[in-house]
Point group: C2
Chain length 235, copies 2
């Protein structure tokens, strides 16, 4: 498949965008990355994702696919090259979808709340929910992997991608706040899994290190500050 057939509208720092990139890498699909600056949102983004106006958008043969976990499933079904990403058994597929939705609907909002911008009380409450969440995900990991290295068994699959995309940001927050989210004492399975995941061929060139994310985080904070100041000046 020629590179021009698959384009991703996104940016390197987004874990959700990384899901799409990892899935295409697994399938051996070349793609073109179109950098979305997001401030203001590009006309292309508004056109291809008018409902949510969010990245990533996969544009495959000029047709957009939105929402990262839906996109990962689409990539698995649209390209028969490479390994399958979802489990083949219907029950395991349902469980993979369940935990994928849990990560996005429950775990990520808590993880997002682990930030000083939200205030110290809210940050602590969020961290507690994040730690409860990784306990649940440790259980899911043990169930799925059955002693093998990944959620997907011998190779990475849907849940590896769904949770693994956050590892750069997890390390960044662990460093920044002096906390441990994937501690070997609490979640030994996930702690080892995280190391293996980052070394995978489809992943290793994509995973941003904590230092790069720290720099980006400062740019983001300055941008939010400028937006807030502009809003205050207008009122």
């Amino acid at each position: 498949m020629a590179a021009e057939d698959a384009k991703i509208l996104g940016t390197w720092s987004s874990p959700f965008v990384m899901r799409t990139m990892i899935a295409l890498n697994l399938k051996g699909v070349e793609y073109q990355m179109i950098e979305e600056t997001a401030s203001p949102k590009s006309e292309l983004l508004l056109k291809v994702n008018p409902v949510y106006k969010k990245i990533p958008v996969l544009i495959h043969a000029n047709r957009p696919v939105c929402e990262s976990l839906i996109t990962v499933q689409y990539i698995d079904e649209a390209w028969s090259s490479g390994p399958t990403i979802l489990p083949s058994d219907p029950y395991e597929r349902a469980m993979a979808r369940f935990w994928g939705a849990y990560i996005d609907d429950e775990w990520f909002p808590a993880f997002h709340g682990v930030s000083k911008m939200k205030g110290e009380e809210a940050r602590k409450a969020s961290l507690e929910r994040v730690l409860e969440g990784v306990q649940l995900l440790e259980g899911a990991y043990l169930n799925f992997s059955k002693g093998k290295p990944f959620f997907g068994g011998d190779r990475i699959g849907y849940l590896d991608i769904a949770f693994g995309c956050f590892l750069g940001w997890i390390r960044f927050k662990e460093n920044k706040y002096g906390i441990k989210i994937l501690g070997e004492d609490k979640v030994p399975g996930l702690a080892k899994w995280a190391e293996r995941f980052c070394l995978e061929t489809a992943v290793k060139d994509l995973m941003p290190d904590a230092e790069k994310l720290a720099g980006f985080s400062k740019v983001l904070a300055a941008r939010y500050k400028a937006i807030a100041a502009a809003a205050t000046a207008q009122t």
Copy 2:
């Protein structure tokens, strides 16, 4: 497949439970309904859905499947009997999943907000979002159905189930508040679709009429009032 192999933990008034029932009906699967009273939540519910503690739960061969749209996909994949529920084309499947998620994540919270319990201002704002949502869903319906009667084409499929399950409650709110959500002037496609959907064999015995829901709504309101009074008495 014997009836005891498939059980639904749920209740007749829940649109999310109805999704599971319609999907099993489409596949010609007999199932046992286990009524969840929800106040307090049953031990079975806490055991089979410890993460969300919500209905419906499909229990198939003693294994629980939670989250109604994940369950509908599971039913489609686990039973090869009957028609397929999701589209066969990968792109159409992705679009069906996209709009299914839109219904649950965006449309339903707005629809839930169309209630006097939330206050008049909030009710009006919610109604506006509901009406914007049905406009988007009208567009999706026209794209999917391509002049045929259902989102699924000649027969009902994933999005018919995902949105159709709300028709009883839509009619109830239309009656109660003197509003029109699926008005033939605004969304002519969906207005006609709604009539057809309710007449389908897999649906017609399940769809509660607005009057029955009005009675149930009064019971619910009394229950919430009692819970609020008990909470006030404790403080």
